[in-house]
């Protein structure tokens, strides 16, 4: 049984093997980029918003309101970062319904890459908000004894982020494959519906956890803004 799409080689470019993970990641990236570019092509004040632009606005404002509930008064860069994570993971999990599509998130390489990007983003956001000294001081936060535990928790955070997303998506694919050989026609469809729900929830959790980690590293804003637009 194939545990990850890494082993499937789609084609070769100048002798460089392109596996299914990279191929489907490109498809998801191209889909997200091209659709957003097509919709926001005519973004001028005198053009009335059509239904596609309204859809994008609903998505972006939904992400922003979710982030504002977790991290009040956060910077716009947090919206860009966490929103990108959410849209990528959600799109690759939702495309599961297309036959033949293997979600890139069912490969441990993709999820590890995303988790490493979160691990890099946390100090970056922390340093831009508190300065290097202020950020390093958070490692000594309750007392000096907690320094090794804080460092360990940083790494275990990344590992659990990666394995959680990979395990959830991969288990959906494996269970569907097993059920396909046991009871075809009906049960795999039910499990795929469950996989869609799990995929959306996991995308939400991934983005929210990244937001929580980043907002715990950044300095709390002086006064909580009640209604940020």
């Amino acid at each position: 049984m194939n545990l990850s799409p890494d082993q499937t080689i789609m084609f070769e470019v100048w002798g460089l093997p392109i596996n299914a993970t990279i191929f489907y990641t490109w498809i998801v990236m191209a889909l997200l980029t091209i659709v957003s570019m097509l919709i926001t092509r005519n973004l001028r004040p005198d053009v009335p918003p059509n239904r596609w632009r309204t859809t994008l606005e609903v998505i972006v404002q939904g992400i922003q309101s979710q982030i504002n509930e977790v991290a009040r008064g956060s910077s716009r860069y947090l919206l860009y970062y966490a929103g990108t994570l959410f849209l990528f993971v959600a799109m690759s999990n939702l495309l599961l319904v297309i036959p033949g599509f293997e979600p890139p998130t069912s490969s441990l390489s993709t999820t590890t890459g995303l988790a490493i990007s979160v691990l890099i983003a946390v100090p970056l956001f922390g340093i831009t908000s508190r300065g290097i000294g202020g950020y390093l001081k958070t490692y000594l936060q309750p007392s000096f004894i907690m320094l090794p535990f804080n460092i360990i928790s940083e790494f275990s955070r990344g590992i659990s982020l990666a394995i959680r997303l990979y395990g959830n998506i991969m288990s959906g694919a494996v269970i569907a494959a097993i059920l396909l050989s046991v009871a075809p026609f009906f049960f795999p469809v039910v499990m795929d519906v469950l996989g869609l729900l799990t995929g959306m929830i996991q995308a939400y959790i991934f983005a929210i956890l990244a937001t929580v980690y980043i907002s715990s590293a950044t300095a709390p804003s002086p006064q909580p803004q009640k209604d940020t637009p």
Partner: protein, 95 residues
């Protein structure tokens, strides 16, 4: 039993044990979380959206411990490094 058979038997046995024990804890935890959320919704129906959103997130976080065990079981069954090494060694000696 040959070396390969011992490795296979222990891997299968451990995979079953991993899923079995890994399912107990999250099942108990999810039951507690769901029952607490239900009674909270019964007391405060106005807060139902917030409670159910938090419930979904926490259920998925609890479930990820079961998923870790599932991943370990899948690795033991389908991508066992010891099995692959022993198989390669047996093929090398066997011809």
């Amino acid at each position: 039993m040959t070396e390969l058979a011992i490795i296979a038997a222990i891997s299968i046995f451990t995979a079953g044990l991993t899923v079995a024990f890994g399912a107990i804890g999250p099942a108990l935890g999810e039951g507690r979380a769901a029952s607490t959320a239900l009674s909270a919704i019964a007391q405060q129906p106005d807060a139902a959206p917030t409670i159910s959103r938090t419930l979904f997130v926490s259920l998925a976080m609890i479930e990820s411990t079961a998923i870790y065990c599932f991943v370990v079981a899948m690795i033991l069954l389908f991508a066992n490094p010891f099995w692959i090494a022993a198989l390669a060694a047996a093929q090398a000696t066997g011809g």
